[in-house]
Subunit: 149 residues, 2 copies
């Protein structure tokens, strides 16, 4: 069965990668809720977070926390963050491979971000141009990420 | 400074508790998005998840994953779950003490749950009656939680 995120892990599909190690990868969401919106995923294929090994799950969570610090260090605009796992299709999981969203938020943007949540997948125009912008952001975030621990 | 969740940890404020140990506590949200909606919190006071010690953070995440299994075991209606941390006020964090939401979801309920998110804090009528219902749910979930690992 084909899985987009497994293809990204295998470097067979494009992604704007911030970090990877033997267990996990971080890349920018192609349909961002806001600039800097990233996904932390396990390299092993698993749809549900409660089925991951404890050490892999803990690792993902620690990486997400480190990413919050890295975003601040990189100067990404964020007054706060949402950390979110949509665990199963009924919870709005679109790719059935565990991913932890790390989403920068600005004060007062709840309604506008809710609208973006509802419409972001329709935003397929200018993917090429967006990819170049995401690649530049990912490079900046990768540098900041390397400076955190 | 007074903190509602610290008061719950100290058993000075009421909550429908599912689980507690020396580092963490799980109780039902008083304004649930859906039946079974629970919060996993650290006992130590900290507003932001990236500032928690690694071992406390990992522990919270493992408890949340175990809670997903416990909800299934307890027969809580759920096709999927959202696991969510609103990390800071601009990300819709209402109590400035880290809490990881574990929210059961049913297929097709996205719009109705979005409306509940936006209005749930207004739902202050019948708190006493709701507390009795939540206490019964918590007792059921506590039993299921004890049977998971």
């Amino acid at each position: 069965v084909s899985c987009l995120f497994c293809d990204i892990v295998a470097h067979k599909a494009l992604a704007s990668i911030i970090y990877e190690d033997d267990k996990a990868m971080i890349f920018l969401d192609l349909f961002p809720i806001r600039e800097g919106h990233a996904l932390v995923i396990p390299k092993c294929h698993e749809s549900h977070v409660e089925r991951l090994d404890n050490d892999v799950a803990s690792h993902l969570f620690l990486l997400a926390r480190r990413l919050v610090r890295a975003q601040r260090l990189a100067g990404i605009r964020a007054d706060a963050h949402n950390l979110l796992i949509n665990n199963g299709k009924a919870a709005n999981q679109h790719v059935p491979h565990v991913h932890l969203h790390v989403i920068p938020r600005l004060m007062g943007d709840t309604l506008s971000r809710a609208v973006v949540w509802g419409t972001r997948m329709l935003n397929v125009a200018g993917i090429e141009k967006r990819r170049r912008r995401l690649d530049a952001q990912a490079a900046m975030l990768a540098k900041a990420f390397a400076d955190t621990n």
